[in-house]
């Protein structure tokens, strides 16, 4: 065997090593991106439920809406530290209640005539929009990560370390029709 076979063999090994190392790097970065995005979503959800509680006790919604909203928003607050599969249905329920309670643009327009309520509604709107965005960005990162992890080399060489397989965050987060962002 000639010496250059060794060189070629060595180069191939090196290239393979580079491929593995850079894939591990990509995964590591995506895992961190997912972590950050989860944090961001968490804080936006928290913000949303806080404002929802405020709105429910402000005495501006009808009594039925106020009651249901107070309850679901409170549940959402308590679920903050729960695992994803417990939290998602609770946050979705809050979304559904908001969608139901604020379904009429004209009525919301009336509520806005009071400046304090208007501020509260603006804040709620902003929070809902941010939940929507954070969730989308999280799911984008999860998709990108799953595409790479769906590769035997990643599995065989344990390139993902001990990080569990990420999961997309699937929940209802539609903007209620009564809020202006919905039309945009």
């Amino acid at each position: 065997m000639n010496w250059y076979w060794f060189v070629i063999f060595g180069l191939l090994i090196a290239m393979f090593g580079w491929y593995l190392s850079s894939t591990a790097g990509r995964l590591d970065r995506l895992h961190r991106r997912i972590e950050t995005a989860t944090f961001a979503l968490d804080s936006q959800l928290l913000r949303r439920s806080s404002i929802a509680i405020e709105l429910s006790v402000a005495g501006v919604l009808d009594p039925a809406s106020s009651e249901v909203l107070a309850e679901t928003a409170h549940d959402a607050r308590l679920a903050t530290d729960s695992p994803m599969e417990v939290r998602i249905p609770i946050e979705s329920a809050l979304s559904e209640v908001l969608i139901q309670a604020l379904d009429d643009p004209e009525e919301v327009g009336f509520l806005r005539q009071d400046s304090l309520t208007a501020d509260l509604i603006d804040e709620l709107e902003a929070a809902i929009r941010r939940v929507e965005l954070s969730r989308q960005f999280l799911n984008d990162a999860v998709d990108a990560c799953l595409r790479i992890r769906d590769n035997n080399l990643v599995h065989w060489f344990r390139l993902a370390g001990h990080t569990p397989l990420p999961q997309a965050w699937i929940m209802v987060d539609r903007m209620p029709e009564g809020l202006t962002y919905a039309g945009a």
């Binding site: 850079s22 591990a24 790097g25 950050t36 979503l41 804080s43 989308q136």
Partner: protein
């Protein structure tokens, strides 16, 4: 609705000295963000450093003209540019970096390569057949994976990015400062008593559609003999004149390259603004500017234009590249002041949706959704051999 002021780094891949859609988007966005109390520093290639505002724009090096996406773009890249980006990231301690047109082979792509942390990116153009995208090599893909929040300025730009990268993007249209286009000064050359029509854009770039417009003019002039035709934009006027029928030439006034100020004036003074663009547009910013200026718009029926014009409610449309149809529509509009007035009214309504105030709210919502306290933009050492050795070993972090 951000409570704390953010330190934002903004990257424009195209030369800061050359006018262009992305460049003015970046400048306007930065100005609006600063008006709301945020710190913004822009990194862009600069050809003449004496013209830039120190402290607001960082010189990313000299640009060169290269063909990109069916046009000629002034971009820069290379080792020195990379070092410049690295230095910019190190020195500024940004909360967030916002990269525009990340696929363009320039400072934007380099920033994605060099930086790590909260990164937002805006896709401006739609290029269905990009070779870079088609082969999407590993390095580019790795860079794209660092973007935490993706924005597309139009449905077409969004489709381009989704089809090549998967996932999704938030749609935030381009912003226009509506007030700035409501000029009250008339352009001195535009007569009030005769109907007038305007073309705006590079004369020598075929996708701007000047040829389609010129081919329609004989019919228009035959039906409306006193029509004033204005053609504004850089390019060789003589080259165009020598192929023109002298009869047609009589009605045309060439304005050459015009300043922003003159653009506002002329848009506000003419009766119709024509946008005969044949393709490659993902968003018709000039259409919005014309609507803001209170001018009736007649545009080719590109999907991007149709969306801006709300399917023809806020402006008239003709079949793309069909000069006969353009001529018929133009004549109909020129002879019907009432129809023009109703288009202008619908246009002014439509345009508020694209006002910067509204757009910046959305952009800030995206910023809030990707930043968490304590996380900042830092240099990505994996881009370097030594960095890879120190941080890239599987399972060692």
């Amino acid at each position: 609705m951000s409570s704390e002021p953010l330190r934002i780094g903004m990257v424009c891949p195209y030369a800061w000295d050359a006018p262009g859609g992305v460049r003015s988007h970046v400048a306007d966005l930065a100005e609006e963000l600063r008006a709301r109390g945020h710190y913004v520093n822009i990194l862009a290639p600069v050809d003449d450093p004496s013209l830039i505002a120190k402290g607001e724009v960082t010189n990313g090096g000299k640009s060169i003209a290269i063909p990109y996406n069916g046009s000629v773009a002034r971009l820069n890249f290379g080792l020195r540019a990379t070092r410049q980006v690295r230095k910019w990231i190190q020195e500024h301690d940004f909360d967030l970096v916002h990269v525009h047109e990340p696929m363009a082979p320039g400072l934007s792509l380099l920033t994605l390569w060099v930086a790590d942390g909260p990164i937002v990116s805006t896709w401006h153009s739609s290029n269905p057949r990009s070779r870079v995208l088609a082969s999407l090599n590993r390095v580019v893909q790795t860079a794209m994976e660092k973007v935490s929040g993706r924005i597309a300025v139009s449905e077409d730009a969004r489709r381009t990015l989704v089809s090549h990268l998967g996932g999704d993007a938030v749609l935030i249209p381009n912003g226009v400062r509506v007030k700035a286009f409501q000029s009250t000064t008339r352009h001195p050359l535009v007569s009030m008593s005769v109907p007038s029509i305007l073309f705006l854009g590079r004369l020598d770039e075929s996708r701007k559609g000047l040829d389609v417009f010129l081919a329609a003019l004989p019919q228009v002039i035959e039906a409306v003999p006193d029509v004033q035709v204005f053609i504004a934009g850089p390019g060789d006027v003589e080259d165009i004149r020598k192929n023109l029928d002298p009869q047609v030439d009589q009605n045309i006034t060439f304005l050459g390259r015009i300043s922003d100020e003159e653009k506002v004036q002329v848009l506000g003074s003419v009766d119709i603004y024509v946008a005969p663009n044949t393709g490659g547009e993902s968003f018709g910013i000039v259409l919005i500017e014309a609507m803001a200026a209170g001018t009736a718009v007649l545009a080719s029926d590109l999907p991007a234009f149709s969306r801006v014009l709300d399917g023809g409610v806020a402006g008239a449309m003709f079949v793309n590249e069909d000069s006969d149809d353009l001529a018929q529509q133009a004549v109909a509009l020129l002879l019907d002041p009432q129809r023009r007035a109703s288009l202008v009214a619908a246009g002014s309504q439509r345009v508020m949706r694209f006002d910067w105030d509204h757009v910046v709210d959305d952009v800030l919502a995206v910023y809030d959704s990707v930043t968490i306290s304590g996380e900042r933009v830092h240099e990505d050492l994996r881009g370097q051999i030594i960095g890879r050795l120190s941080t890239g070993i599987p399972g060692l972090r």
